[in-house]
């Protein structure tokens, strides 16, 4: 209970922290007042049963006063709580939005999308429900029994002591339950995650599974995961029920002990029968509060989890921005002694030094995992380098600031993201104030005009997931049009590997040529044309530059690059089917 309040306080600003404190104080007050109101049962009942009507009236007046105070506090607290709930929703969403936009691009990986969208929808509403619905009953369930015990101690310390001991036992049992269930939950979550992964795999690989006959006769992998899921659920159930049994038993035992003790004391004459009955009524309320707490605790855990996840994201340090951004001169790029590691252990890049003069074309080649993409990402400052520095126009990218850097760099990725909206909106996003003429020119150069012609509503056709889909080559042309329109002096390019048909291939080719003219380009090259055209070729392997030079120089050197070149030219000349005269054509294969 205290931890959730602390987590909420960490999320909000000072005025809201004050409001939170106020709401908590009001709810604690209502809890105390409710406990005191319950405590009044003993004297009222005692007086009424003794037919002492004056005393009964007095105590009833006290009770009425407590009741009015309780309801006033409850009203104010609840209205404040509703208000705070609304503010919390706004604050959570606003803080998430403001913070994530300042995080390094490297922080965003594939898992983030689902994680953040859950956080912004379900997570935020879970958090908002805390002051709106959860906090009041939770605080009441703790504060009012405590008040009752204290009040009871004035009447009959032995019963109060019994209750106190009982509470400790119940709390211990609850803690035990949480530990046991928590242990089972780890295995359960793992089984559920595995099941989900298998179901997704099953959905994604339907064509292969069907053709190879793995859907009709059941899919063993999915079936095994589902069975394991059931086993894990069952184990969780067994441990959970064990814990729950102990918890319920301890609560009920507490009630029994107090009843027996009250009867014993009353029969022994040390406790007035009326008081005994009053105290038993209090005990019942007390026990019910404990049960309430147990029932609220799972909602509490969910809310705490959501809050913690949001706070974890908010705790990720944003990319540091320079106080006084430097002004770059020219568009040359210089990497000196760059080292980088994602996890602090394995080096993805090590001692990479590279100069790309203004308006030059640098092609990066190398096997997968050699660090090509990382190199590109460091220039765009998706991450900050671990060692060395990356400079643009003589200024370290860290001293340039995100905005200034992004103004000067265009990136064309392999996977192009298209936003929900029209084709036009997707292109002009890079420069909303572009004139119609500039837009047409970029479209012409990137051969997007062909796409516009093909689509039913031209520029106004809606694209993205919900709209018309573009082929891979077309998407890339849209992305190139964006970059052309933006007209930044530096272009970072990850050439698409996917094979394109002749038409798209030619279109993308001419679009890239237009983009590369007059700009500083670093390209992860897959096409032979690209490496031939490059001013310098850099061969990466294992995070280091192993060869560099022009295409001709590297060919003449006869090293790693020559192998690359041979393999690629051979692949380009490949025929799926050899001409009929070749003996290989009719070779019967062994299978």
């Amino acid at each position: 209970m205290i931890s959730i309040v602390r987590l909420l306080a960490a999320l909000v600003d000072r005025p809201h922290r004050r409001q939170l404190a106020r709401v908590v104080a009001l709810f604690v007050t209502t809890g105390v007042l409710q406990g005191l109101a319950f405590a009044c049962v003993v004297p009222v009942l005692d007086a009424a049963l003794r037919q002492d009507w004056d005393a009964a009236t007095t105590w009833l007046s006290v009770l009425l006063g407590l009741f009015v105070a309780h309801h006033v506090a409850l009203t104010i607290g609840n209205l404040d709580g509703y208000d705070l709930a609304c503010d919390l929703l706004d604050i959570t969403l606003a803080r998430l939005g403001e913070h994530t936009v300042r995080l390094p691009l490297g922080w965003y990986d594939r898992d983030r999308t689902g994680q953040l969208s859950r956080m912004a929808s379900k997570g935020a509403t879970d958090i908002a429900s805390v002051p709106g619905h959860l906090l009041r009953p939770l605080i009441a369930a703790v504060v009012s029994p405590v008040t009752v015990v204290v009040a009871m101690a004035f009447w009959e310390w032995r019963l109060a002591l019994a209750l106190l001991v009982g509470v400790c036992a119940v709390l211990a049992a609850t803690r035990l339950l949480a530990v046991i269930v928590g242990r089972g939950e780890g295995a359960y979550d793992a089984a559920m995650a595995e099941g989900s992964a298998r179901v997704v795999e099953f959905a994604l690989n339907q064509p292969a599974l069907r053709v190879f006959g793995r859907t009709v006769h059941g899919n063993e992998l999915v079936e095994a995961a589902l069975r394991e899921q059931k086993r894990a659920s069952r184990r969780l159930l067994v441990t959970g029920f064990g814990g729950l049994g102990i918890q319920l038993l301890s609560i009920q035992a507490l009630l029994t002990v107090v009843i027996a003790l009250a009867v014993h004391l009353s029969l022994g004459g040390t406790l007035a029968p009326a008081a005994a009955i009053g105290l038993l009524v209090l005990t019942v309320r007390f026990v019910e509060s404990l049960i309430d707490y147990g029932e609220l605790s799972s909602a509490l855990r969910i809310a705490e989890g959501s809050l913690q996840r949001v706070l974890d994201v908010l705790a990720v340090p944003p990319l540091p921005e320079p106080a006084a951004p430097g002004t770059p001169v020219g568009s040359g790029i210089e990497l000196s002694g760059v080292g980088f590691s994602y996890d602090g252990e394995t080096r993805v890049l090590d001692g990479v030094s590279l100069t790309a003069p203004p308006r030059s074309l640098t092609a990066v080649v190398g096997p997968s995992g050699s660090g090509k993409s990382t190199l590109l990402r460091l220039v765009a400052r998706f991450h900050d380098v671990t060692d060395g520095s990356v400079r643009l126009g003589g200024v370290d990218v860290r001293d340039l600031g995100t905005e200034a850097l992004m103004q000067r760099v265009s990136i064309v990725f392999q996977d192009v993201y298209l936003f929900e909206g029209t084709l036009r909106e997707n292109v002009v996003m890079s420069r909303p104030d572009a004139s119609e003429e500039e837009l047409r020119e970029a479209a012409r150069l990137a051969r997007v005009d062909d796409i516009v012609e093909r689509l039913p509503h031209g520029w106004q056709t809606r694209i993205g997931e919900a709209g018309s889909t573009l082929s891979g080559g077309e998407k890339q042309r849209v992305s190139i049009a964006r970059a052309l329109l933006k007209d930044a002096p530096v272009v970072l390019l990850d050439e698409a590997t996917a094979a394109l048909d002749a038409e798209n291939e030619a279109a993308v080719q001419s679009a890239l040529t237009a983009l590369a003219a007059d700009r500083t380009v670093i390209v992860i090259a897959h096409r032979l044309q690209t490496v031939v055209a490059a001013d310098q070729v850099v061969v990466l392997d294992g995070g280091r530059i192993v060869e560099r030079g022009s295409h001709e120089e590297l060919l003449a050197r006869g090293g790693r690059y020559l192998d690359f070149w041979r393999e690629r030219t051979q692949a380009e000349g490949w025929r799926l089917l050899e001409p009929p005269q070749s003996p290989e054509r009719r070779e019967t294969h062994g299978a």
């Binding site: 035992a253 030619a506 290989e584």
Partner: protein, 570 residues
């Protein structure tokens, strides 16, 4: 469940009985101590019964839930294995996962909790009310006042809730979608300088949702507050004690009569609160049940129950085949006639959107034609069981379809009993055996875990798989060869081994790879525009000749260098 409710009430009634036994002592009468202890022991026994019944009924419903869950999941998975493949292209895998995992899990509350909680929420107040009315009707009426007020409050807070819940769900979905876009497209947003605008759009959605939430809160605050104020035990306490003491004074009731109202009357409102919590989960569960129902009702790709006629040969015939993705949408294929003679190669070429991929995918029955028919050896695909069909047809597409299981099991997907020697032989033919043997656990390495394969390596495992399945007919996407430039040559070699001797239908992107095909079919807007051999089509000087010229222009090795030089000199 009812037994459990009654057992829960016994100790409380026990306190009332104790009051009746002990209270006379206040006025000096003798106390029946023995009877008092009997009441205590009966209460203890009832507590144990209560514990047993609560745990027992809850256990039974949870076990029932487990059985239901796995049963539903199996049925859903089975259904997914039989819906037309187009169903999957319209949905992402997240939707499927949500249905099979999350929606079934959401039912948990309906099955394992809600029924019991609602039973308790109804039985408890009814039993208590009857008991209280027996003791003192007027005081019982007073006790019911808070409950009535609570119900009024609930009704007020739920005014128009149906529509509001829908708006709320829509708002949440919009928020999630805006976040997805801001996360998935973050690199584009930042590099194209749209940070401010995109962020603003997300902020707008968030503010709109926040505003809606606030309005709803205002709209329902009064009702919720009234409900809270009515249902807190403090109100019942004041009413019962005030009215009770007065009735005692005017002798409507006796002292012990007051006790049950304090003990039981206060407990009456608690289940209502629980029911309020359960209502939300019940709503979610009902929605989930509806989605599950919808998925289970998805039509299956029809398939004959019995073994159909056995195809006489591997001769494939497309007869006046037309296709559209959904009724009413424009036709993607129109009246296509095509014959694949056994052992020949047919290449499909054409612009993107010409229908060549769609046509190729009809052969492994990813979808059925809307008109016309496709036969193998004279038998319509729809008259074959899937086992029969896929004994004839296999495919290799860019999407490799490898599963997270051992490489061995991936290769022998079609023949799980295939001996190791065969697995090795096809792996060798697919140019991947060397790479597999380098792995610490060889063929036992699990794809995606201890076998981290590059794109080209995955392609070669998929080719090995197709080799092992050894069907006479093969559908191939030529782009597979070029999907991974780093091992293009090896993939190409593997493909050449795979296609040899089969009836082949190939979707060709680079025309130069298929010049030797027995027939080349040029598709345009879903129709066959030209067909013939490479030489024939070139000689005709039509569409194919133009595509060929474009292909030749796109692939010269020094093309870009020239272009760039031109641009720079310009």
């Amino acid at each position: 469940m009812v037994a459990s409710t009654v057992a829960a009430l016994v100790p409380l009634v026990g306190i009332v009985e104790l009051a009746r036994i002990l209270l006379p002592a206040a006025s000096g009468s003798a106390v029946d101590a023995e009877r008092a202890w009997v009441v205590v022991w009966v209460s203890v026994a009832a507590l144990l019964v209560r514990l047993a019944t609560v745990l027992g009924s809850s256990w039974l419903s949870h076990v029932a839930d487990l059985d239901l869950s796995i049963h539903l999941r199996r049925r859903l998975v089975a259904r997914l294995g039989r819906v037309p493949l187009a169903w999957f292209t319209e949905r992402n895998s997240g939707t499927v996962k949500k249905a099979v995992q999350d929606d079934v899990a959401a039912l948990h509350h309906l099955v394992a909790h809600s029924v019991m909680e609602l039973t308790a929420a109804i039985t408890m107040p009814v039993v208590v009310a009857v008991y209280l009315f027996v003791v003192s009707p007027p005081l019982a009426l007073v006790t019911l006042v808070p409950l009535a007020l609570g119900v009024v409050g609930f009704r007020i807070s739920m005014r128009g809730a149906g529509a509001l819940y829908r708006d709320y769900d829509a708002g949440l979905a919009e928020l999630a979608a805006a976040t997805v876009e801001n996360t998935g497209g973050i690199a584009e947003i930042k590099t194209f300088g749209a940070t401010g605008r995109a962020h603003q759009r997300l902020a707008e959605v968030a503010v709109r949702f926040g505003g809606f939430n606030r309005a709803w809160m205002r709209h329902s605050a009064l009702g919720m507050l009234l409900m809270e104020l009515a249902l807190t035990p403090a109100l019942t306490l004041v009413l019962v004690l005030g009215a009770g003491v007065w009735m005692l004074r005017v002798s409507w009731i006796t002292g012990p009569d007051l006790v049950p109202f304090l003990v039981l009357g206060l407990a009456m409102t608690a289940p209502v609160t629980v029911a309020g919590y359960a209502a939300r989960e019940l709503r979610e569960a009902t929605e989930a049940a509806r989605r599950i129902q919808r998925l289970l009702a998805e039509p299956e790709l029809p398939e004959p129950d019995d073994l159909g006629p056995v195809p006489g040969s591997a001769r494939v015939e497309f007869q006046s085949v037309s296709f559209a993705y959904s009724p009413g949408s424009p036709a993607v294929l129109r009246d296509v006639d095509l014959v694949l003679e056994p052992g020949t190669v047919t290449a499909l070429v054409g612009h993107s959107g010409s229908g060549k991929s769609t046509l190729a995918k009809l052969l492994p029955r990813f979808a059925d034609p809307v008109a016309g028919r496709i036969t193998i050896g004279g038998v319509d695909l729809r008259e074959m069981t899937s086992a029969q069909l896929y004994a004839q047809v296999s495919f290799v597409f860019q999407d490799t379809g490898l599963l997270r299981t051992s490489i061995r099991d991936n290769i022998r997907l079609a023949h799980p009993e295939a001996p190791d020697a065969d697995v090795r032989r096809v792996a060798e033919a697919a140019q991947i055996s060397g790479r597999i043997e380098e792995l610490a656990r060889g063929y036992d390495s699990v794809v995606g875990e201890d076998a981290q394969l590059s794109g080209g390596e995955r392609q070669r495992v998929a080719i090995a798989r197709a080799l092992l399945s050894d069907t006479p007919i093969l559908v191939l996407d030529e782009a597979t060869a070029a999907a991974d430039p780093e091992s293009e040559a090896l993939v190409q070699r593997a493909l050449s081994r795979l296609v040899a001797g089969r009836t082949l239908l190939v979707i060709a992107h680079r025309l130069s790879t298929v010049t030797a095909a027995d027939q080349i079919v040029v598709l345009d807007e879903g129709r066959v525009a030209e067909r013939g051999t490479h030489a024939e089509l070139l000689a005709r000087g039509g569409r194919y000749a133009r595509l060929w010229a474009a292909d030749q222009r796109a692939h010269p090795v020094d093309g870009w260098a020239d272009d760039r030089a031109e641009e720079e000199s310009a």
